[in-house]
């Protein structure tokens, strides 16, 4: 069989395409971005057979996928773990409304916070929603998961979560692909009233969802994603979820003496768990993420026979992603000899690119605020410009979550802070900033909002921004006084003029917006290169 070398994200995307996907929606976010990038590059999209699109945010992505599923086709929404917070409302309620065409919601968690502000574990949303979930253990399972999950979704009439983590999303592995399946025809649900979540209908649907949980557990018990790997030495049993199972097999060289229960489908398969718990003296729970299964198995008060060990007991680190060595330590396999660590390397943190327009905006802001005796606070947001927190800029004071810059500035201004500045990117503004701006207008908040508009979603690799060249119109349309929607070009040659505009708008007692617009240096360079290649070809 021919093999392909794909990222976990790409394997999942190829698996979805081969499983008859018709619609894919997503907002980019590390480590989930390459799923939709891959689908957008596919023949299926270029031929027009599959609809795929970047959306304004994760909530609109999931809702569009839910609508496609309503119309009978197989649909997928993808996001990073914190994106699921944004999409939590449709996520939880779609479990009650259900699926018609297969609906999968792919969530990529980021343990160790490589590119995120937290390492929350999306499996906790399964308890909120009562939705089943597949957690692939490797790239082949990432490829196999969509076909399985679409079928399960259509059979159980419920959306299915697929949980990935950074190390699988961003690792390549060899996979073999299967037969491609036809897409579903358009077909409306035969029981459409279940999509009306009026309390009198929702109560019945929710009760039915609760009643069906034993069926979902039976699905898990029989799932190929859950596997019992026997071992003769029952002094220890190992429960490993998702890619954690790979670490156990790796450090034991494929010859583990203890039984291993590999879990890749939820709800948790109770019978398999019970088999492990009753046949072993001690259980080690190895999970990439929070101690989700571990805390359930442990119970409260904690069960002592068998003893449950894992992240909660210090046998594995409580936080951060797993490593082969951490798993080896938990299995008492010890360390291998290695050269001593070197103390020479200095930290090399990420930084704004040379020539980045955000650097010019940061310089202008620090000059303006540095000259004011009362200082002022720059509430910032999620994007490349968050790197303005680091030297040499030291230009921003906060970064909490998508859109928080504008609304935190508003709250602080109302509490007496001046100047209260919000610094937010173009795409973050359309993702979650516009609603906050309406609040600012309605409350006549004394805030100065700087939208750093680099005409792209830069941090995740340059996806198109939702409202390119429409930001001034949007801000005026939301009610900002037209004279106080200013557009500047952040560039060293305009520094003095930009400082003056910032001063004027800070002194204006009301909501004002300054759009600092200059294209991302990376996308500009890429476009220039493309243009020159095309020029050479046409010559």
């Amino acid at each position: 069989m021919p093999t392909r070398l794909l990222l976990g994200n790409e394997a999942l995307a190829q698996g979805a395409l081969d499983a008859g996907l018709s619609a894919a929606y997503a907002y980019p976010g590390t480590p989930s971005t390459e799923i939709t990038e891959y689908i957008l590059r596919s023949h299926e999209v270029r031929r027009g057979d599959v609809v795929a699109s970047w959306t304004a945010n994760e909530k609109t992505a999931l809702e569009a996928a839910l609508g496609a599923s309503y119309a009978g086709v197989r649909a997928m929404a993808s996001m990073k773990h914190v994106g699921l917070n944004v999409a939590a409302d449709p996520f939880v309620n779609s479990a009650i409304a259900g699926a018609n065409g297969g609906l999968i919601i792919v969530v990529a968690d980021d343990p160790s916070m490589h590119s995120s502000q937290n390492e929350q574990d999306s499996r906790f949303y399964l308890d909120l929603s009562l939705m089943p979930c597949i957690e692939p253990a490797d790239q082949q399972e990432a490829y196999d998961a969509p076909a399985y999950a679409f079928e399960l979704s259509e059979r159980l009439r419920i959306p299915i979560m697929i949980r990935l983590t950074t190390r699988l999303s961003h690792s390549r592995g060899t996979i073999t692909t299967g037969e491609a399946r036809h897409q579903n025809p358009f077909s409306l649900p035969d029981d459409p009233r279940r999509y009306i979540l009026l309390p009198l209908i929702a109560r019945q649907s929710y009760a039915r969802l609760v009643e069906r949980q034993p069926d979902f557990i039976r699905e898990s018990e029989a799932s190929p994603f859950n596997q019992w790997i026997d071992g003769p030495d029952r002094s220890l049993g190992i429960l490993a979820t998702g890619i954690a199972a790979g670490y156990v097999l790796d450090v034991t060289d494929g010859a583990c003496q203890h039984p291993i229960l590999k879990i890749g489908q939820y709800p948790i398969p109770n019978t398999l768990l019970e088999r492990l718990a009753t046949s072993c003296d001690r259980i080690l729970v190895v999970e990439e993420g929070f101690p989700y299964v571990e805390s359930k198995l442990r119970g409260a008060p904690a069960r002592t026979t068998p003893a449950i060990h894992g992240r909660l007991t210090g046998h594995l680190p409580r936080i951060g992603e797993l490593t082969p060595q951490a798993v080896a330590d938990a299995l008492d396999l010890g360390s291998l000899p290695t050269p001593a660590a070197s103390s020479t390397p200095a930290p090399r943190p990420p930084a704004l690119c040379p020539g980045c327009p955000h650097a010019d905006t940061c310089h202008a802001l620090t000059e303006v605020l540095g000259a004011r005796p009362e200082g002022g606070v720059v509430f910032s947001d999620i994007g490349c410009y968050t790197l303005g927190a680091l030297p040499p800029y030291n230009a921003i004071d906060t970064c909490v979550e998508m859109g928080a810059s504008i609304t935190m500035a508003k709250g602080a201004a109302a509490a007496g802070l001046h100047p209260a500045i919000a610094l937010i990117g173009d795409s973050t503004f359309t993702h979650s900033g516009m609603t906050g701006l309406i609040d600012c207008v309605n409350e006549e908040a004394n805030v100065t909002i700087v939208i750093v508009d680099n005409l792209t979603i830069a941090m995740t690799g340059g996806q198109p921004s939702s409202a390119e060249n429409r930001l001034a119109t949007i801000c005026a349309g939301l009610g900002v006084v037209r004279d106080h929607v200013r557009v500047i070009e952040p560039h060293p040659r305009n520094h003095e003029a930009n400082v003056a505009v910032l001063r004027e708008e800070i002194d204006y007692a009301g909501p004002s917006v300054i759009i600092a617009q200059r294209e991302c240096i990376q996308t500009a360079r890429r476009r220039a290169r493309k243009t020159s290649v095309e020029g050479e070809e046409s010559e």
């Binding site: 590119s115 592995g173 097999l249 291998l336 290695t338 390397p345 200095a346 990420p350």
Partner: protein
């Protein structure tokens, strides 16, 4: 046969292309391959590393365990030193000689090279100079591929085939530059 490799460098040096070429070469020989890479925020001029593994049997972990790397292949000398605890006692460090100084507090450059020189199995290569000789400074990653190739346990034909397929969209000139960079790096490794 199993090979565990740490690729080390800085965002923008072409480390992921280097990883992709070696991974594809191993895949073309029907070996199992796992290759972990870094995306997102970390790529903005910061540290970039990749764990690359291939074997003639199924691999289970995307990451290299400490003490098992056969090779640290580095596009930047300070980055070569960052991952020493991954190296097995018999493992080699092959590094580009050219420091990339984009931070304050970069250590003394000659001390960095001397520290690599004290390791039992090491080679320092003028990757930038050889890449210029090949025709493009961006090809320093393929010079390092050549320089590291004696430790890869893969036939040169698989590596050159993977270079050709990786750069196929960029045209014959780019392919030839990268093949030349590979050959110059291989010559600098003391093998031919």
């Amino acid at each position: 046969m199993i090979r565990n490799i740490i690729l080390a460098g800085v965002g923008g040096q072409g480390l992921l292309a280097l990883a992709a070429v070696i991974g594809e070469a191993a895949r073309s020989l029907d070996l199992d391959v796992k290759q972990a890479e870094v995306h997102g925020m970390a790529q903005r001029g910061g540290v970039v590393q990749s764990h690359l593994r291939y074997a003639d049997r199924p691999l289970r972990s995307n990451l290299v365990r400490r003490g098992t790397a056969d090779l640290i292949l580095a596009l930047e000398p300070m980055e070569a030193l960052r991952y020493l605890p991954y190296l097995s006692p018999g493992g080699a460090v092959v590094s580009s000689a050219a420091p990339l100084v984009n931070i304050p507090g970069y250590p003394d450059e000659s001390a960095v090279l001397e520290e690599i020189g004290r390791l039992p199995a090491h080679r320092i290569v003028d990757a930038v100079g050889l890449a210029k000789e090949a025709g493009a400074v961006q090809a320093a990653n393929m010079v390092m591929l050549g320089a590291g190739s004696p430790h890869l346990d893969l036939p040169a034909s698989a590596l050159t085939g993977a270079i050709e397929s990786f750069f196929t969209d960029k045209g014959p000139v780019v392919i030839e530059t990268n093949l030349k960079a590979f050959r110059l790096g291989k010559a600098a490794s003391g093998t031919s």
